[in-house]
């Protein structure tokens, strides 16, 4: 590795180097939770580093799940989750609602009903 560059890339770099060694996200985000980035956020993310800017760009105009972000960036899931949680905390990404075990009966039934009609209409 040359110089003082800390955001080193490449296959030989340990995956958590891009999170500076942190493996615990600030906020738990499920695989299917979707994130979106506004044009303003994408512009701001230029100053947040290469990886975060790339993530913001992926989520601009079309909401993407944590799993999609990981797949498109080719970063391991755990690493992606740390970066995405940081970006939510920094206001660069908006985290939307994923169906959760904590949902109440009525809310969950409504959601399932919408998914059911969505499938039937396919």
């Amino acid at each position: 590795m040359e110089g003082r560059r800390t955001e080193a890339r490449g296959e030989l770099v340990r995956p958590y180097a891009v999170t500076r060694g942190r493996t615990e996200p600030q906020q738990d985000i499920t695989l299917e939770a979707v994130l979106s980035a506004s044009a303003t956020a994408v512009a701001e993310s230029r100053f947040a580093g290469h990886d975060k800017h790339r993530i913001a760009t992926i989520c601009e105009g079309r909401a993407q799940s944590l799993a999609e972000i990981a797949a498109y960036t080719r970063m391991p899931l755990g690493v992606t989750r740390v970066l995405v949680a940081d970006m939510v905390a920094e206001g660069l990404l908006t985290l939307h609602t994923a169906a959760a075990p904590t949902m109440g009966f009525v809310e969950r039934m409504n959601l399932l009903g919408r998914v059911l009609s969505g499938l039937r209409e396919l």
Binding site: S38, A41, A67, P101, L112, G118
Partner: protein, 205 residues
């Protein structure tokens, strides 16, 4: 509201996402099923697991052996501007249970794909969903030249409870896959309703 940062795109409606899990043995057609209905070519995401290093005094001296990568395939169906359904295939190797826990968290339900040539591959996922109280249906994937068992025989062989739907499917056919997913959601709804009526909601995930 901070008007300096006001952005109409950000102020758009809240999006809700949900997922259905597709499980089954290696090569049973999970990715085919996801691909038959997904609006995107199925994507793969990878998680890195630190190996237990059994029998190795110092795992760092064995390059490449300290971690294992677990891959899972998934697809997406955008149902409305504010509703997205994801389909997640479980890793083929059932030893990666930690990944299964992650995949089923908050899931609507699951479909267990069964290949009649390797029917016992379905035992692990069936047990897993039964233990985790995740609503699931069993879908028999019709392979050309595979033994043609009656559904009742398969139900008996796999000891599938009477209240669990068992359907025939062709994982390559969009309409057939759609019907499997409809069955998963309908089953999840009736389970949820039954639990609600009993007054003992079962948490999922």
């Amino acid at each position: 509201m901070d008007f300096a940062n006001y952005d109409p795109a950000r102020a758009s409606r809240e999006i809700i996402s949900a997922k259905i899990v597709v499980a089954g043995g290696f090569g049973v057609g999970k990715t085919t099923l996801v691909g038959a209905i997904s609006e995107i070519t199925p994507l793969t995401t990878e998680a890195i697991m630190t190996a237990a290093g059994v029998g190795i005094d110092d795992p760092s001296k064995v390059p490449g052996k300290e971690t294992t990568t677990v891959a899972m395939d998934f697809g997406r169906i955008t149902m409305a501007q504010d509703l997205i359904l994801y389909l997640f295939g479980t890793p083929g190797q059932t030893r990666f249970w930690f990944m299964w826990d992650e995949i089923i968290r908050g899931a609507v339900g699951a479909a267990v794909l069964v290949d009649t040539r390797r029917i016992t591959d379905a035992f692990a996922p069936l047990d897993y969903f039964e233990n985790r109280k995740l609503p699931y249906v069993v879908a028999l994937n019709r392979f050309d030249g595979a033994p043609n068992y009656e559904l009742a025989e398969v139900r008996e062989a796999l000891a599938i409870p009477a209240d669990v739907p068992l359907v025939l499917t062709d994982a390559r056919s969009r309409d057939s896959v759609k019907q499997v997913l409809v069955t998963v959601v309908e089953h999840a709804m009736s389970r949820l309703q039954a639990e609600h009526n009993r007054g003992f909601p079962t948490p999922v995930g």
